[in-house]
Symmetry: C2
Subunit: 399 residues, 2 copies
């Protein structure tokens, strides 16, 4: 006999994104980086492996290299967050950060607040802890805090405990591209603060803004020490580094450090990142990334408006993704399947809903008329060709 947690763990399988170099199709699939903008890290690596060899090749303490934590603390302070080196912990990418926060807070049967739709790779991580989901929709300003308040009040009336935390991607949300407004952020912090509910602010795309002004992060606005800011170098430098961080109250991080039984995050890649920064590599890299991804976005937006005028979407001001709404009668799963046959991979929108469990009754209400398209990985030429193939697949379903 298997417990509910074990069943949850067994069900906690990844939706299975396709590696773009492993399939013979144009990839608008998962958020792979554009290989064209990968920086030259050879000098950084050489210094890491000579000057810093003793540090880079030895075990590293759970908190990570102090110098990198200092750098991240300064980077966060530049972004309006009042943190110190003690409030930063290095982790093996943002997903490892979320896993560790779950280890700290989550008990089987607990609830967490998520957006509907949400970042799909977080779903199996949360499920693997036996968590249930309170799904809250978004509007143009982000997570609907009024609806969240009503749901929390209902839970109180029902005698249910408060959720263990609220999880959201506040900047250039994955998959919708929405950036939460300032008013909404303040309302969310008030609601969470009144009820002492921690917030996990996962923000990989924040610095990939192509136009407009940044909104202060939840972490910058937080006065209660309740926000866990999860960051990563995957979108700033390269995903292959597998280096992320948690910015949070130091007492919480000390507890997380005791749960981090992985032998420490790789000090070699930490040091490579640091040495890259010493050469002012990040400034140049951000320019390169923003320029490339803004052009990719423009290209995909233009191609979609040209070839698929019946498909609705809002062009995001940054990040990696377009979230398409298909006309009535077009099932996103059927379209994604047909599109893949025609040589372009896209992800049907139902994969981004936590309540989506293929084969389960709970999946019935999940919308079937969205597609997520990542414009990050493909070249402009591939974007043109891929949208053309998607359009052919779409029109083949109409006839």
């Amino acid at each position: 006999l298997l417990s509910a947690l074990t069943l949850a763990r067994r069900a906690a399988t990844l939706p299975g994104p396709l590696h773009p170099e492993a399939v013979d199709a144009i990839s608008f699939d998962s958020g792979f980086a554009s290989p064209g903008i990968f920086p030259d890290l050879t000098r950084a690596a050489e210094r890491a492996l000579t000057t810093y060899r003793r540090e880079a090749l030895q075990y590293c303490l759970p908190f990570g290299l102090a110098a990198l934590r200092e750098w991240i603390a300064a980077y966060m302070r530049d972004d309006g967050v009042d943190v110190d080196v003690e409030d930063v912990m290095i982790v093996n990418g943002a997903k490892n950060g979320l896993d560790l926060i779950c280890r700290l807070f989550a008990e089987e049967g607990d609830a967490v607040v998520v957006t509907a739709p949400m970042y799909f790779t977080a779903i199996p991580i949360l499920r693997s802890f036996g968590l249930s989901f309170i799904e809250i929709p978004q509007d143009r300003e982000g997570l609907d805090v009024k609806q969240l308040e009503l749901r929390l009040q209902q839970r109180e009336r029902d005698g249910l405990p408060p959720p263990k935390f609220i999880y959201d991607v506040t900047d250039f949300h994955n998959p919708t591209g929405i950036t939460m407004s300032l008013d909404r952020r303040q309302a969310l912090l008030r609601l969470a603060g009144d009820r002492s509910i921690p917030i996990v602010e996962d923000s990989p795309y924040r610095k990939l803004r192509f136009e407009g002004e940044a909104v202060p992060s939840l972490k910058a606005l937080d006065r209660n020490g309740m926000v866990f800011a999860v960051g990563t170098f995957s979108k700033l430098i390269a995903p292959g580094l597998r280096i992320g961080w948690i910015g949070a109250d130091r007492s919480m991080l000390r507890r997380i450090a005791q749960l981090k039984s992985d032998g420490g995050t790789c000090p070699l890649t930490q040091r490579i990142v640091l040495e890259f920064f010493k050469d002012d590599g990040l400034t140049q890299q951000l320019v390169r990334a923003r320029t490339a991804y803004a052009a990719h976005r423009d290209h995909m937006v233009a191609a979609l408006r040209r070839e698929l005028p019946d498909v609705a979407f809002s062009a995001p001001h940054g990040g990696y993704y377009l979230w398409l709404k298909l006309p009535d009668g077009i099932d996103s799963g059927v379209l994604a399947h047909r599109a893949f046959e025609m040589g372009v991979s896209v992800i049907p929108g139902d994969a981004f809903f936590a309540s989506n469990e293929p084969g389960s009754a709970r999946s019935k209400g999940v919308p079937k008329h969205h597609l997520r398209l990542a414009y990050s990985y493909s070249t402009e030429q591939e974007i043109d060709e891929g949208v053309n193939r998607l359009s052919k697949a779409y029109h083949s379903l109409l006839s």
Copy 2:
């Protein structure tokens, strides 16, 4: 109210080894590598970051780089194991491998078989899954399989389910240095095979044999596909790489891949390892490591026999550790504390018993007369000075 699993997780704190470069003491503490033998990885890194840049800086699939898996499969075949690339998965170090195997098998309340004493960093990992321990002593031939059989028979009579797996470090056991004999390995495989109990064979030190013949690994002797061989490059090349592997039946690995929601193991360090091997780096590195650690062992053995003749131990034929037995009346915790005050850090033996929970009644039977000394990290001069300080601490307790 917290569940038993949550309480277990909260209690699952690391014993807190000290980073040797963070304390002002000679370190015979955890198994840090000797910095003097760290190889030059600069050429390997340069190739990884130029020729293989697209691969090294992109996300990697959960199984890891195919070329590295091929290499490891060949390495295991050279060691008598019948495996193919499909039977190898790359993980973030051996501890991550154990964590993933627990995710596959473990349910709260399950039991696992461990040695008493055992590798102490595995204790919090196993505890974090809510596992209980069936502790089996060792003799000179390794885990006492007769005692294990009696315990399993007793569990059957008590109506208890079999353990989920057997965990052991079969070569140069941590902390005892014992290598399991061939007869004992075959007896263990028969017992586990008859009852369909998987075995996790954690073998970081296998290639660090200073003298004598290697005994076939459990994985090489396995005819039932029940052994999970957990390997790591931490002891072969450098701990800072955080690259390990699981060699196991491919159907099991496919299930583990679905639980590996970490964004993949770092492809940059995987590629650096591979490029290092292309230059025949491992052959030279193993000679360097064996030479250095054999000399460290000889030095520590001689110093202990000279300065602490009342302390009993067997000199191991490989690995990193000496396991000391103190005379009656000397408490290892008191001695370790005094030794640290005198400038040498050692780990009291009770930390290596899974039933050791400071402050709990269950800890009462845990032996208090062992010390583990790692000879890996310190130089020969430091070994002399450290044993001298330990001897002073010891003699101060006698007076």
